[in-house]
């Protein structure tokens, strides 16, 4: 069934389709509608789940950690300050190897207060050990939730699904709604032997000395490496079932491109408009959307970008004292494998609109070598 729904509700429908058993969340703009619709669905019996209405995001994630430790599918959603408050427990979920799914609606971090989008909240969690997937459309968002549970349960790591505040969270698009019964064939009910069970008592998370902790961390890295293939496999399987797939990266008109723009989130769709426009003018330009950020898809990125003459990375985030974060990641992925020039651009922080004009400006600057800096160029700073 097709429906015109907002991005946040696409998340809720994805959660419904996944047969989640415990949900816990705390309100924060611009994520609130996700959990509003979910609590409605729980209340009217559309979803057979418990909704724990906690007093903070810290408790939301720990409640979900507890539920997941009991061996059920569990979900939470948040944004910005809420995600930052969860930080300690983000690590906990990974160390405890719990297949939780969390949606973060990218919102700027205060002060000053801002409810508009940028990626600093989720990207500053990149080293916690969560998988991160950045979505571009409402359909992709709904579908990725379902994929995320399958991925998480396969590698026993939590998955964070990320979408732009307002540009996606509050934008209405047509979504082919997944029916829970159809999804069951793709994502069967969750079962695990590794859980809190009075018949098989174990202690989870007790003190590990230097002689064991190291190996436990090594295993997380192994699981992350495994996840690189699992994400692809799950996506392919999803495509078999539902006819839609998204890949770990999405190249667009890259094959003979002189310049490739690296994008993520909703900027990816905006960029394609400019790529088509410039292609019509005879300019060889393409784009590469990064959907999977953790684990980082080194090979896929290399394969596409190594063929370009130039790469321009568009970052809606900033690592203060360094560069844009996707820029860092791309640079490190290509280091020693190709010497294609990579130029970094910072845009759209605090929700400033990244219009087709802005993308075109970046493309032209990159093509014409009009960049004051090689690594970091701020676009549209009014001072």
């Amino acid at each position: 069934m097709k429906k015109v729904i907002m991005g946040n509700h696409a998340v809720s429908y994805g959660v419904k389709a996944s047969g989640v058993k415990v949900i816990s969340a705390y309100p924060i703009t611009p994520q609130t509608q996700i959990v509003e619709l979910l609590s409605e669905m729980c209340a009217n019996g559309e979803i057979d789940a418990k909704f724990i209405k906690v007093e903070s995001e810290h408790s939301a994630l720990t409640a979900v950690v507890g539920a997941s430790a009991a061996g059920v599918r569990a979900f939470t959603a948040t944004s910005s300050q809420g995600l930052l408050l969860m930080h300690e427990i983000l690590h906990w979920a990974v160390g405890a190897r719990l297949p939780i799914v969390l949606t973060n609606v990218n919102r700027s971090v205060g002060p000053p207060w801002s409810i508009w989008t940028d990626q600093n909240d989720s990207l500053s969690q990149r080293d916690t050990g969560w998988l991160q997937l950045y979505c571009e459309s409402n359909q992709e968002t709904q579908d990725t939730i379902v994929q995320a549970f399958k991925i998480a349960e396969t590698v026993r790591l939590p998955v964070m699904l990320v979408l732009d505040a307002f540009f996606l969270s509050h934008t209405y698009e047509i979504v082919d709604i997944l029916e829970p019964n159809d999804v069951k064939k793709f994502l069967p009910p969750y079962e695990t032997d590794i859980r809190i069970d009075v018949e098989h008592p174990h202690a989870f998370g007790n003190l590990a000395g230097p002689d064991t902790y190291f190996e436990l961390r090594f295993m997380i890295q192994k699981a992350m490496e495994e996840a690189r293939d699992v994400v692809k496999k799950v996506d392919a399987e999803f495509k078999e079932h539902f006819g839609r797939g998204y890949g770990v990266v999405q190249p667009y008109r890259c094959d003979d491109a002189d310049l490739i723009l690296v994008t993520s989130g909703t900027i990816a769709s905006t960029s394609r408009v400019i790529i088509d426009e410039m292609r019509d003018e005879g300019i060889k330009i393409g784009s590469l959307k990064i959907r999977l950020f953790r684990p980082f898809p080194f090979d896929e990125v290399y394969e596409v970008l190594s063929k370009a003459k130039k790469v321009a990375v568009i970052d809606r985030n900033i690592s203060f004292g360094h560069h844009g974060i996707f820029f860092q990641e791309i640079k490190s992925a290509l280091y020693g494998r190709t010497d294609v020039p990579i130029i970094g651009y910072i845009v759209g922080i605090g929700g400033r609109d990244v219009t087709p004009k802005v993308i075109r400006e970046i493309a032209e600057k990159a093509l014409n070598d009009e960049n004051p800096e090689r690594d970091i160029n701020w676009i549209g700073v009014k001072m």
Binding site: S56, V65, G66, A67, A96, V198, A203, G209
Partner: protein, 307 residues
């Protein structure tokens, strides 16, 4: 106080790594005897995150999930919800936290869980300081006490936070205090708690010889004196915070003796001890007045039920 049978079954085994005379360890042994094998524990950062033993060992015969310092109540809420969604409605989920994890850093998640009336037992074993990290003050440290962050020159000047009042204000179905020096009462209360639905809060007095500068063999004696000197009254609060019942059937002993026996109070001068004695008596009187008041509330059960 009615005698209760102390179950012979042991759910705590040797191999734990507690200090000698650790009240928190005795408390766990009694609590599990009362609750039995269908119990799942959630333990935040505290001495008990170490006592159970290092990975991959455990000295307990029940499952245990370690969680972050401030997250015992919320993790337990989620665990209970998860078990129920699996169809397991029998397992008792118990959060087991220190005074720091309860009175201080964990009070937010505890308050949230209690207000929602989550179906969990929350036990605070109170050794009156952060012992895991080396004896720093908590808001449960009593007035007058030395800790490493309240050195003798600036010993603790503020009174211990009244956690029972705070929990009673949450209108939860069952609140009790218990002491390792009174195992029958202890076990009776945990058994009673097990049968009640909703949030049950049990405040356990658990001496720490290491932190209190006390010979380990005096641990239980100190716990007993805390009760008989009225420093730590044994009580129950039922009827959703309204009905207070205080145990009074004991030979009172001087607060002074309790204080004098512990190195952590060694610096206190006579008049300072006197002030503490007065405060203990005032709190006791307030407690009795509260009990009396709760007797006269309309519609509440006046009868002693089972003690």
């Amino acid at each position: 106080m009615k005698p209760a049978r102390i179950p012979e079954e042991e759910y705590m085994t040797s191999g734990h790594v507690a200090c000698q005379g650790c009240g928190a360890t005795q408390a766990m042994r009694f609590a599990l005897k009362a609750l039995g094998p269908k119990t799942a524990l959630v333990i935040p950062a505290c001495c008990w995150s170490v006592i159970d033993g290092p990975f991959p060992h455990s000295s307990l015969r029940v499952p245990l999930f370690h969680t972050a310092f401030e997250a015992a109540a919320s993790t337990a809420s989620g665990l209970k919800a998860g078990l129920e969604m699996r169809g397991d409605t029998e397992t008792t989920v118990m959060a087991w936290a220190g005074d720091g994890g309860t009175f201080d850093i964990g009070i937010q998640s505890l308050s949230g869980a209690a207000e929602r009336n989550e179906d969990i037992i929350y036990t605070c074993y109170d050794n009156e300081a952060y012992m895991n990290t080396g004896i720093q003050r908590s808001s449960s440290t009593p007035v007058g006490a030395w800790t490493t962050t309240t050195p003798v020159a600036h010993y603790k000047k503020r009174p211990k936070k009244k956690i029972i009042d705070i929990m009673a204000a949450h209108s939860i179905p069952y609140i009790a205090t218990a002491s390792v020096a009174f195992p029958e009462d202890f076990i009776r209360k945990f058994k009673k708690a097990k049968e009640i639905k909703g949030t049950r809060f049990i405040h356990v007095f658990a001496p720490c010889p290491t932190g209190w500068k006390l010979p380990p063999e005096l641990s239980v004696a100190m716990a007993r004196q805390a009760v008989t000197s009225k420093v730590f009254p044994l009580l129950e609060v039922t009827e959703h915070g309204k009905r207070w019942k205080v145990w009074k059937d004991f030979e009172p002993t001087p607060v002074r003796d309790y204080i004098k026996a512990q190195g952590r109070f060694r610096h206190l001068k006579d008049e300072e001890i006197k002030a503490i004695e007065e405060e203990v008596e005032n709190n006791w009187q307030l407690l009795l007045a509260r009990e009396q008041m709760s007797m006269n509330l309309p519609g509440l059960n006046k009868e002693d039920d089972d003690s």
